[in-house]
Subunit: 136 residues, 2 copies
DNA sequence: AGAAACTATACTAAAATCGTAAACAAAAGA
DNA sequence: TCTTTTGTTTACGATTTTAGTATAGTTTCT
């Protein structure tokens, strides 16, 4: 019941980017500031770019910049960018073939986890990065 | 970001126990009804008994019975009984030695995850098993 | 052109999870 | 009391996931 280290790092990296004076920051600087190795930082940034949270600028003096307002970046969005869809339970996954019943809709327990999952997801999406801008 | 299969099964087993006519149900019957192997069911029941969610009755005609009112059994309680303390992030763990800072209290990110963790945990503890009694 | 910076894919090692096995202990009932 | 039924404990191996690295590009600025 944990997010992956990768998702944890992603939050840190977005945070560093948020606090930065410069809009465009090289991955090497982000790596240093967040305490994550460069290679792993790059991997994470690529995923964040894929979701549109950051934009990449190639070439000399390139780097990454926030592409969204921190007030719009939720922890849920960051975490899902890295770890994939938020699924509390394996049985919520699309490609999970429930051995209990043929049709998922009839699985008693599926409903339980489905509604719980929605609640937790809403909670994650409700927490925006700008919340943390001041009090740190 | 998933609960373990074991925790998933635990919820199913508690549910089956909840629906049962008989107060005391043998592990073998719970295994069958929940679709979990007997051995694994026993392992789970042991943990549930440890938290006091169920009580074990040894001997002939023995088995397990719910020890709490379903209205008091939350998903959070079941999940923590099986998977241990709910920690969204590894850095929240007591025995995690943060390499970023000496004192966790000064880690910028620790606060973020700490408050988020509390919210999700509250959500999990707010969902009680009796909620699912009727609509299934 | 050439250096600085990002992109893409694939790989390996470590850790956690899942489920099983075997031997043991306790209680109820005949 | 003794047999049956059930639970307890510890330990183990296979599988899956995660974490992090390596290699070989591509783009852009100077």
């Amino acid at each position: 019941m944990r997010i992956t280290h990768e998702a944890d790092y992603a939050v840190r990296i977005v945070y560093v980017l948020m606090q930065s004076e410069e809009p465009c920051v090289a991955a090497s600087k982000l790596a240093e500031a967040s305490g994550v190795t460069l290679r792993f930082t790059l991997k994470i940034l690529r995923k964040l770019a894929g979701t549109g949270i950051v934009t990449a600028q190639k070439g000399a003096n390139g780097g990454y910049a926030l592409a969204m307002d921190p007030a719009d970046i939720s922890l849920g969005l960051i975490i899902e960018s890295i770890d994939g869809p938020f699924e509390l339970n394996h049985c919520l996954s699309d490609d999970f073939d429930c051995t209990r019943v043929k049709d998922k809709k009839f699985c008693q327990f599926h409903h339980i986890f489905d509604s719980l999952n929605a609640k937790l997801k809403a909670e994650l999406y409700g927490i925006k990065m700008n919340t943390f801008k001041t009090h740190l």
